[in-house]
Amino acid sequence: MTHDASSTRTGNAALVPEAATATASAAAAAREQFSRRHRFTPLEVLPWLAAIGAYFAFPDYLALGSQILATIIFALSVDLLIGYTGIVTLGHAALFGTGAYTAGLLAANGWGDPVSGLLVAALAAAVVGLVSGALILRTHGLTQLMQTLVVAALLMEVANKAGHYTGGGDGLQGMIVWPVFGLFRFDMFGKTAYLYSLAVLFVCWVLMRTIVHSAFGRSLMGIRENVARMHAIGTPVERRKLTAYTLSAALAGISGALIAQTTSFVGLGVLSLERSGSILIMLIIGGVGQLYGAFIGVPLYMIAQDRFATIDPVFWYFWIGLFMVLLVLFARGGVLGILTRLVKRDGGTS
């Protein structure tokens, strides 16, 4: 009875030279499959073509356009947390606002260089993210959600109370933003603002794409899917979540700073619950955890809002609400999920 164990040992192909080469090529095929995963596909050019096309097609809407581009960065930042790591936040405006006020205060106090302003804003938001994240990530579930809210509310109160510096409820006045690299002046048509935002978005997208395809990114997905397993393979789960939180905070800070610089204004709204909530809606509409959801959800939402909200704000919220309900009921992956399924189906039948 004990001898029939050998039946499986014959499956040990590595002992047979001929089979060894066969398995070596199987291993090579497997490696190939994994290394292909982070390669660029032609479809990934689409958002950039669209953004450049929009620049020429809608010269009157460049202000809205740069807001959209900057907000996509915010959505990417939220996606890194919610979509990839599985940390739900209702207070990401805290980091967005930190970036906005940092860039705003710099420009209002004599340092108007946009690029270094962005970097300082990213750093400030990262620090706030690191500290608040260390507290927030200690808790779980509903408590954690409340904590994210509390941090944003707290910062809003600080910004409000520090009216001497921030302008409080009236907003921060007197920002003077210098030309980008000392060369490209922010013009009244918003051309520079648009192209500057596009360039910053591009850099952030490269960053985000690198992160989610990295070993680190895979481990974030592991944490989202099965945290018990990640603990059991020795992942320092809390530390890794905090890294994700900090990186996400930096991206949110860049987004906030970009909007501050391109509009030359920062109001308390950058820290508001509405800001935290609407970015969630945009991301869910576009599709969570698929990298490009942000590129679809944000323009859809912001263009629709621009068209409809001025006509009838009540109606706007009704439609967006209805749209959300339908998406949640019938299309879990958002618009991007629907598109992916359509493309796959086409590919299957042809």
Binding site: T2, D4, A5, S7, T8, R9, G11, N12, A13, A14, T23, A26, A27, A29, A30, R31, Q33, F34, S35, R36, R37, H38, T210, I211, H213, S214, A215, F216, G217, R218, S219, G222, E225, N226, A228, R229, M230, H231, A232, I233, G234, T235, P236, V237, R239, R240, T243, L247
Partner: protein
């Protein structure tokens, strides 16, 4: 690892691979682990048995660090690890498997193992390096799957595998971490009888230097693999001994073996 241990002279006892002292865990007033003193020797083949709800899984959770004990201490190779996180214990070679599969069901067998190896090598925190570029980990994972007889399933996703092979993957992931101590929580649970042999073979082929704690309800497996058996009931150690001693102990028959007959 500790080579002196292999010249096993019974009089000089090297530090146990794992030792618990007065280990206690309660959920509120409910004591699930009750002052457990336990030694898992280096290179042991030790089974932990006991009726449902005896606290076996909780014991594994305590030793692996998934749960913090209410009181008591745990040591690994003579070093106190009670305050270490689960990740830190894994880095020291203390690895567990799960009674209920904890695998990435959408991912391939190869990638499930590859993730573990990447983490073990300290590469999983790297934000800049594409995961797919980690060839050494994939090659090692592949070689491991060949060793345990899962090479043919390497590229299949977990959810497409028969349950027995999923359970083998659960063990393969643990082996990818190069454990010194392996805690196997009912490796054959839910495996159809025809495939139990695969699991037994896998356990029997584990490298001799790994200390194995096997939790199992299937007595055929226990008596085939274990050189020592500890019986746990209602959170405390009822008795510990060789398989022969356990088999003829009247208390064990009453509490455990008897109960299974009626169940």
């Amino acid at each position: 690892m500790t080579t002196p241990a292999s010249s096993a002279s019974p009089t000089v006892s090297p530090p146990a691979a794992v030792e618990t002292r007065k280990l206690r865990k309660s959920f509120g007033a409910f004591v699930v682990t009750d002052n457990v003193d336990f030694r898992l020797e280096q290179g042991a083949r030790h089974a932990l048995i006991g009726p449902n709800g005896a606290g076996k899984t909780t014991f594994v959770n305590l030793v692996s660090g998934a749960l913090q004990p209410t009181s008591g201490a745990i040591s690994l190779d003579g070093t106190d690890i009670t305050s270490l996180t689960q990740a830190q214990r894994v880095k020291r070679g203390l690895v567990r498997t799960f009674q209920i599969n904890q695998l990435f069901r959408k991912l391939s067998v190869l990638e499930n193992v590859g993730l573990a190896i990447t983490e073990r090598d300290g590469l999983a925190g790297n934000v800049w390096r594409p995961a797919g570029r980690n060839r050494a980990a994939l090659d090692e994972a592949y070689a491991l799957l060949e060793r345990v007889g899962l090479a043919a399933d390497a590229m299949r996703s977990i959810e497409d595998l028969p349950y027995g092979r999923q359970r083998m993957t659960e063990i393969a992931v643990a082996l990818g971490l190069k454990p010194n101590v392996l805690l196997l929580d009912e490796p054959a649970a839910g495996v159809p009888t025809g495939d139990v042999g695969l699991i037994i073979d896998l356990i029997e082929q584990l490298p001799a230097e790994i200390a194995v704690l096997l939790i199992e309800h299937d007595m055929a497996i226990v008596f085939r693999v274990a050189k020592r058996i500890t019986v746990l009931t209602e959170g405390h150690v009822l008795i510990e001994g060789t398989p022969a001693e356990i088999a003829r102990d009247p208390k064990v028959r009453e509490v455990y073996l008897g109960e299974r007959k009626t169940a």
